[in-house]
């Protein structure tokens, strides 16, 4: 609506105009602020990942899992359909209204090496489907007495009309969430076995009818998407081993320069959330900087050592994972060399054995709700480092916005700053066309000058400066053609020694422009 108002005002201003040979245009110069900010390290890194260390300067800290896996893909109840046929073993039999035929049988699940004794279902369904061909009315009670849910044992009663010519069918689907299923069968000693009771009887009130040995009824049930949240048994013997390459894509943006780090202190903890014995071994951990072609093999005390991972302790609702810590620091490893190499690719070789000694728990391995095997990283990276023209480059896709009646002609963008970081920077913007050719660049008349670092107090005296970024008519024309923008920033720390970042470090800036624009109506 405001646009309409504007158009109306303009229309009123030129009310006598019937047609113009060309647009009315003029140039104006505008001074306008663009952006401002007061940045501290907490604005660049999440607050939880920064803390003041014992020496009074800042460290980056990490407390988070870096790798984890669960056994729920191994311990699962596959979708299974089972049909049990029942018939009498004599040529014929008269079925009176009081006739009852109880049957008990064990249904064995095929779970491969896994021998389960007990599961609690997180989610899934059992569909039961029973048929009868008896010539009279029949009633079948199906019960799995050791599958106990919130309302009692799993089971149901199914009613059939006379089905001498056409079999009659009754089916039900039951939500098995939170059902506790004992899989030791009718004798209590088996594994992967469901004990099932079936009672077949006449449902006639007065009449007696005759069945023959060829009258075969069926009892069938299907497991659908059954996922356990707890399992007990023997989970089998497995070995996972791999050599995998991990891309450290953030470091791909480093295109030049070097970094010097004082120290790093890391602890990688292997946490076992299962009640079973495991062993693990890290055989390879190397980082490669593909830009320089340099590879550094990380060495640390437990490398190539078989680590025995104890079972978790506690029970279903109070289990406590066992922990196996790996200490990696500047003293017992070459971690600083590893990081200073600025690897953009890491290759990790590992092996993990589940139940390496077989069924030593006597079938009492346990999988707890949400339990997992994980590598948890506690790392401290003191912000004490030196950077020498460490250059980071990022590419941004740009969609130029049509400015309509307003056309930018020239601009001078000015950055006023107070740099309290002991780090200087030089920034250049490269404009790329659709073919990724550099068609122009925007560069300031100077870089951001580093603050002056005091190695005794860790304090930095801020440097106040101003940088101008002139943007010509040609550059504006190229901005319209631009499809991508490369931001290239080169960082260098103050002095020759490593600097430290104190908690008070800040960067204040104010970015404003003097923009010449052409208005065309």
């Amino acid at each position: 609506m405001r646009k309409k108002l504007f158009i109306s005002i303009i229309a009123a201003s030129v009310v006598f105009v019937s047609c113009k040979k060309e647009a009315t245009s003029w140039s104006t110069n505008w001074a306008a602020p663009i952006a401002h900010g007061h940045l501290t390290i907490n604005d660049m890194v999440e607050e939880d990942h920064v803390e003041t260390n014992s020496e009074g300067y800042l460290s980056l800290v990490i407390h988070e899992p870096v790798f984890e896996f669960s056994l729920d893909t191994l311990i699962k109840l596959p979708d299974t359909s089972v049909v049990e046929k029942t018939a009498i073993g004599i040529p014929s039999l008269d079925i009176s209204p009081t006739y009852i035929q109880p049957t008990t049988y064990d249904q064995v699940l095929n779970l491969g090496e896994i021998e389960l004794k007990e599961v609690i279902i997180a989610s899934g369904f059992i569909e039961t489907k029973l048929t009868s061909v008896w010539p009279g009315k029949a009633k079948v009670a199906l019960v799995i007495p050791e599958a106990i849910g919130p309302l009692g044992s799993f089971g149901g009663v199914y009613y059939f009309e006379a089905g001498h010519i056409t079999e009659t069918e009754d089916s039900q689907i039951t939500d098995m969430t939170d059902y506790n299923m004992n899989l030791t069968g009718g004798d209590g000693l088996s594994v992967n076995t469901i004990g099932i009771n079936v009672i077949v009887q006449s449902n006639e009130e007065t009449e007696t009818y005759t069945i023959t040995s060829s009258d075969t009824n069926t009892v069938g049930f299907s497991f659908i998407d059954m996922v356990p949240k707890y399992a007990r048994g023997y989970f089998g013997q497995y070995t996972f081993s791999d050599t995998t390459t991990v891309s450290l894509s953030q470091l791909n943006r480093v295109v030049a320069g070097s970094i010097d780090i004082d120290s790093i202190d890391m602890k990688i903890t292997v946490k076992n959330g299962f009640n079973l014995v495991a062993q693990s071994e890290i055989s390879l951990f190397e980082g490669t900087n593909t830009r320089t072609g340099t590879t550094v093999d990380l060495s640390f005390p437990d490398k190539n050592t078989t680590m025995n991972i104890d079972p978790a302790s506690g029970g279903l609702y109070d289990y406590v994972p066992s922990e196996y810590p790996l200490e990696i620091n500047s003293i017992n490893s070459n971690i600083t060399d590893f990081i200073e190499n600025l690897p953009n690719s890491a290759k990790v070789g590992y092996k993990m054995d589940i139940n390496p000694f077989g069924n030593i728990s006597a079938g009492n391995d346990e999988f707890f709700p949400n339990s997992k095997m994980e590598l948890f990283l506690d790392g401290e990276f003191p912000l004490s480092f030196g950077a020498n023209e460490l250059t980071i480059e990022d590419t941004i896709d740009i969609n130029w916005v049509d400015t309509g009646e307003i056309t930018p002609e020239e601009a001078n963008v000015t950055l006023n700053y107070s740099n309290g970081f002991p780090i200087g920077a030089q920034a250049t913007f490269y404009l790329l066309d659709a073919s990724n050719n550099v068609i122009d660049s925007i560069v300031g008349n100077s870089g951001i000058i580093t603050g002056s670092f005091n190695a005794d107090t860790f304090e930095t005296i801020p440097h106040d400066g101003e940088i101008s970024f002139p943007i010509s008519v040609t550059t504006f024309e190229n901005l319209e053609k631009m499809k991508r923008l490369i931001l290239n920033v080169s960082f260098t720390t103050d002095g020759t020694d490593n600097i430290k970042i104190s908690p008070e470090t800040f960067f204040d800036f104010n970015l404003h422009s003097n923009l010449q624009i052409s208005v065309s109506l």
């Binding site: 009310v15 401002h36 940045l39 604005d43």
Partner: protein, 412 residues
């Protein structure tokens, strides 16, 4: 295309007019009828010369020289105004609408555009130069104003057969109107911030087309009184008093009504609103216009027409004096219009031909020089051509507007 045809038809069919050349008092109309077709058009400014105005009319680049030249002539009030009236009037002595044989019947139709504006010097500077050379200064936009109204009038009334004095009551059809006025408003630019104070109100009718949009209805009264008297020397004199557009228009309830009263500070984006924020964070969405606090609502609006008041000494045709003085005063009740004074001479070398010239000051413009030429054909047909701003018509640099008036009368 339809609009163009309508516009051209009006312009061509009314390609003369009567509000007014330097009007010449002819004779009584006691019998028959008189039809006047008139076209009265001008735009004028006391600050913006034709170099600048022509760029808006005909296009082209407004150079720094043009802007600077205008800047030198800016005043406390920088008016720009325009009127365009195409009209047809009919006087019939054979119809006596009020039963009195002294009075005849008159009817008229006119299509009117009216623009009145005042642009403060600092607003002109902001529009044409920007604010880059005003860092540390306050640019004052107070009392800037724009009014544009387009309407048609259909009037009926009576006239005095002896003096041609008339009184008409008009139905007014409002086509469209845009109006806005700033009160205490300014912009202060610092190196790292801009403060914008805006107080004002206005409205805009909903439709910008068709040409006869009929978005409002109203009425007006036009009074035209000729006072005839003789001097001690026996010379007959005519004083004309005219009050026009005494009325109003009620615009429909789809009219957009605006008001604003806000002080907005802009310091650029705070980088913290962008870094470490989710992609859809509210802080990432910023619209400067929204922060201005422009209030808008729909509703009906009643606005007065631009009331005109004029008094002038008219020359008399067929006077025994070939040279007659002319002088007068005109006012339009809008804040941008200064009292308009004029004086000049009327010269009639023959019975069928006359001319006049005059100097004027005020209105939307400054000092102006006008010329009129009149020609009669056997007392049945009159054709007049004139301008109130000859300098504006011929000079871009020294002219501050343009004016063209045409008129034709037909006696039957």
């Amino acid at each position: 295309m339809k609009k163009v045809i309508i516009t051209l038809s009006l312009a061509l069919s009314c390609n003369a007019f009567s509000q007014e050349l330097t009007p010449v008092y002819e004779d009584s109309l006691t019998d028959g009828s008189l039809t006047r077709v008139s076209s009265f058009n001008y735009y004028s400014s006391n600050a913006f010369n034709n170099d600048l105005l022509d760029k808006f009319l005909f296009g082209g680049a407004i150079t720094t020289d043009i802007k600077d030249q205008v800047t030198k002539g800016l005043k406390r009030v920088n008016s720009f105004g325009a009127e365009a009236e195409q009209s047809i009037e009919h006087y019939n002595a054979n119809i006596n609408p009020i039963g009195n044989p002294k009075f005849g019947f008159t009817a008229s139709f006119s299509d009117n555009h009216f623009v009145s504006s005042n642009i403060s010097s600092d607003l002109y500077h902001t529009i044409f130069y920007g604010n880059a050379d005003s860092v540390g200064d306050t640019l004052d936009y107070s009392f800037s104003h724009l009014q544009y109204i387009h309407y048609q009038k259909i009037g009926f009334g009576v006239y005095d057969k002896r003096t041609l004095s008339s009184l008409r009551i008009n139905y007014v059809s409002g086509s469209k109107q845009t109006q806005g006025r700033l009160s205490n408003s300014f912009m202060y630019t610092a190196e790292d911030s801009i403060a914008l104070m805006l107080q004002g109100a206005g409205f805009r009718t909903d439709l910008t087309s068709p040409y006869f949009a009929m978005q409002g209805h109203g009425f007006s009264i036009d009074l035209n009184y000729n006072f005839l008297f003789e001097t001690k020397n026996g010379n007959e004199q005519i004083i004309n008093l005219k009050i026009s557009n005494l009325g109003l228009i009620a615009w429909n309830n789809e009219t957009n009504i605006y008001s604003i009263d806000s002080l907005t500070g802009y310091t650029g984006f705070d980088i913290k609103d962008f870094i470490n924020q989710p992609e859809d964070a509210p802080s990432k969405k910023y619209n400067f216009i929204d922060t201005l606090g422009l209030e808008q609502e729909k509703g009906s609006v009643i606005s007065t027409l631009p009331i005109e008041f004029a008094i002038q000494k008219m020359p008399k045709r067929n006077s025994d004096k070939k040279l007659q003085p002319i002088l007068g005063f005109k006012a339009i009740l809008t804040s941008d219009y200064f009292p308009y004074l004029f004086g000049g001479v009327y010269y009639a070398p023959t019975d069928n031909f006359s001319g006049s010239t005059r100097l004027s000051y005020g209105g939307f413009g400054g000092l102006q020089w006008g010329l009129d030429l009149n020609y009669w054909v056997k007392d049945k047909v009159y054709i007049g051509l004139g301008t109130f701003d000859m300098i504006g018509n011929i000079s871009k640099k020294y002219g501050f507007g343009r004016s063209v008036n045409l008129s034709a009368h037909f006696k039957l």
